[in-house]
């Protein structure tokens, strides 16, 4: 049976969210996965926040793997809902992987020009994480600790448009890497054990 992938990300807020979800699900099928796309703002007519929350949690529970679009959204970090879901799936012991159309370090986005300082601070005096990671360490380290893939491919750098937020190139590359290791795992399972 095809492994189920939960497709988390700010994609749900795009004008063409449904279309983007369908395209990502098609790419999932190419690689032999079933993509689960969260229902969200695209069809909130008649749906309240509680039912969307529960539906998303149920989808995450059904999924074997979480694939997180970590492209920064309305700030220097990934979309808040996506980050919540990463914490949720990580704690649930699911496999988690991330992708983004932005490959700069978090510290470079928050404090451009301050990278050489040992303890950089932003204009408000708030410390800027200085580990060279692409986002807050809890996000990046969760994926790495879980042995996940983290794929960044710059796409229309700086443009706040639908294509760059959907991060299709990084999505495909990440899926390819996840698929390769799934294939390896399957091949290893099939390999007769030595006696």
């Amino acid at each position: 049976m095809a492994q189920r992938l939960y497709l988390a990300g700010p994609d749900v807020f795009l004008a063409d969210a449904r279309d983007i979800g369908r395209r990502k699900q098609e790419i999932c099928r190419e690689f032999g996965f079933e993509g689960l796309f969260p229902l969200d703002n695209d069809d909130t007519v008649g749906r309240d926040a509680a039912s969307i929350f529960r539906a998303n949690c149920a989808l995450m529970q059904r999924a074997d793997i979480g694939l997180f679009n970590l492209t920064p959204f309305r700030g220097p970090s990934a979309d808040a809902g996506t980050v919540f879901e990463l914490g949720y799936m990580f704690a649930s012991g699911k496999a988690v992987h991330g992708y983004s159309s932005v490959s700069t370090a978090y510290r470079a986005r928050v404090g451009p020009g301050l990278e050489s300082l040992a303890a950089p601070r932003d204009g408000n005096g708030y410390a800027i994480e200085n580990f060279g990671l692409t986002d807050n360490l809890m996000i990046v380290r969760a994926i790495l600790e879980a042995g996940g893939e983290l794929t960044s491919i710059e796409e229309n750098a700086g443009a706040a448009d639908s294509a760059s937020l959907a991060a299709f190139r990084a999505f495909r590359a990440c899926l390819e890497a996840v698929s390769a290791r799934t294939d390896i795992a399957r091949a290893e399972k099939r390999r007769p054990s030595r006696r």
Copy 2:
């Protein structure tokens, strides 16, 4: 034994993070709780991202309750690390509560003046969640679904300073509410069962 509270929030990025952590731990003691304050940027000298991540996860596992400072940080939503931890503790079945020094609705912060629209969009055409909640629905609904307290008290509105980000007034009010229900739970436990 005192219940252990994990004190999540962007407090760790403040210039006086250690002092703020200590003050919050003192307030916890006032209410009979033990406050666990995450080690983070304040003492990154000699510590790498991986060890900080693991230490924070270990603290969350030790905690009985998560208390989340959801005051917006570097954008319209709560700090990304804090949101990850909310997802983590929610999925781990821990009690979770939130507080903030900002009480406006998320949609008002992202799209001021657009509140009357049924499906508001920001300047990039991205949909703005329109449920009247103070942040992304995954954040707010997680706390409400878990039966948690959610306390917002405006403090130095709009000022990006240490005091307003620490949200001491909302912190104390939230802790008071959590403490009251813990007392009720204890009283109920002590009450002899009818025969």
